[in-house]
């Protein structure tokens, strides 16, 4: 059995992190999730710098990215990732509360791979997260890894 590659969850709300992890845990996927609390941390994680300088090398299989976050928001992170040759092909799923069309259109224009609105209904939310986790971490074949800057 192949080892699961990691999922990066970028989310500022602790409660959302709890709920997301709880949903993934039902399928024993919580243990492969790394968490960044805002955009700056997310970029630190991917570039293996700051408090993530010591993490194991390699890119996550997918980034679950919230839009509204303090400091660097999700749209800006997405823009930086998609314009960087190293991270360009890294799948990014926007996981957000916002149903607003400008966000939706903006994310796809920047090259997001998917856009998922977190439902208020917890059962639905759990189901969405579960399916996302299964799809990206298990079903989907990731793009061949390009050499990351930091190895």
């Amino acid at each position: 059995m192949k080892t699961l590659r990691r999922i990066l969850l970028v989310e500022d709300s602790l409660r959302d992190i709890d709920l997301t992890l709880a949903a993934l845990d039902e399928h024993h996927l919580a243990n492969v999730v790394d968490v960044a609390r805002d955009g700056v941390e997310a970029l630190d994680y991917l570039n293996r710098r700051g408090k993530f300088a010591d993490r194991e090398p390699g890119l996550p299989v997918v980034v679950f990215l919230d839009i509204k976050m303090p400091r660097l928001d999700g749209l800006e992170v997405l823009r930086q990732l998609k314009s960087d040759p190293v991270f360009k092909r890294l799948p990014v799923v926007m996981l957000t509360s916002s149903k607003e069309e400008p966000d939706l259109a903006g994310c796809y224009a920047l090259g997001a791979n998917a856009y998922v609105v977190k439902p208020v209904d917890f059962a639905q939310f759990a189901d969405s997260v579960k399916q996302l986790g299964l799809f990206w971490a298990v079903l989907n074949e990731p793009p061949p890894e390009s050499s990351p800057k930091a190895t």
Partner: protein, 479 residues
Amino acid sequence: MPLRNTPIRQKLMLILLVTSAVVMLLMRGAFFAYEYVIFRQTTLRHLATLGEILAANSTAALAFENPDDAAEILSALKAERHVLAAALFDRQGRVFARYAPAAPADPIPASPGPDGYRFVGAHLVGFQAVMVQERRLGTLFLRFDSGTILREFMWGSLPIVLGVMALVLLAAYLLSRVLQRQISTPILALAESARAVSERRDYTARAPALGRDELGLLTEAFNQMLGQIHDLTRDLEQRVAQRTTELEAANKELEAFSYSVSHDLRAPLRHIDGFAGMLVKSDGAKLSTKGQGYLGHISASAKQMGALIDDLLVFSRMGRTEMQFASVDLQQLTEETIKGLELETQQRNIRWKKGELPVVPGDLPMLRQVFVNLLSNAVKYTRPRDPAEIEIGCQPGSPEEIVIFIRDNGVGFDMKYATKLFGVFQRMHRSEDFEGTGIGLANVRRIVLRHGGRIWAESAPEAGATFYFTLPRQRKSPS
């Protein structure tokens, strides 16, 4: 070409020519009348003189009762070819001598009339006493053809009259050609300026002022009006620009507000429902049935508020998004909508009655929302009916708008509350009986109004409901 459509140059010339002609004819008429009066007086005097001379010459012939002498005296009248007849009567009133070259066309009266001269028809007739030393010897009769003289005089002067008229008209024509410019030139200049302004919408243009007469004042007033229009337009444009900026700012604020509502209000609700759900999962077994019920209420309330927020956002967006007009086939839209409701209708016994619906100009996604809302309401509120009957059709309406109606045999509502029907979050039924947030009809109303239409409903409790709405046949600017 009717007179009001002839160019002003020609109109002015025509007026001048007609006026001159009429004035000339009137003067000619007055002149003739004067000449006629003078002619009669002259003729009368002429004949009276002739009569007096003849009477004086005839005294001897009458006194000596010599008719041959008398006839000879009368025959001297040959020199006056307008004297038609003459006669001498003796004292007893018998004809003594006569002169009638063209007799008997102008008969000589059998006896003398009263003395004096008068016009009888076209003739001047006179009786003159023949007197010798206050003694009357007889009467002289004279008949004079005044009509022929008059006719000859009239006809003789006609060529002169016509010639003078022609000359006067020619002079009037030439003068009017020059003089009409005084009036027509400024009017034409004004008309040209007005046309240029209305065509190019250039309110800075000015008509040239050519004098201080009424036309000059008109031109000045016109220029002042142009100035006012220019100022007003500029003010209006500035105000529109300012309002647009304000509106854009307000709209941006609203967008930001919606965004925040969408983002920030939904997150805590998700947490409430999420953690309530997790509590059920982790400790549900330890809770009493009551406690489990409370947790259920917490979840349900959170979900309901989520739905309300979503609906409110849709409602707010519906009022702000720009409309994209296209031809919308309402028939097809109805079919698609009914198909989309299959999930709710497949377990039901519903009799659909679909009338013919036209193609109208409208925003397809918005009109789809109208049909989805009204038809799903009809499906929802006929739930207790078996069979349910839902009819959708079109009334003739007016040349400007069509009337569409959706009728059901459902639970209906009391018309007392009809005013609340289209309000935001207004509900006619308890949510235990019929689910919903109460935003659907508010949305429908807003969309219909934005299309320039109207909406109303008729119903009675348990007697079904009919919703009517109108849509303009031609695109209307939104109200």
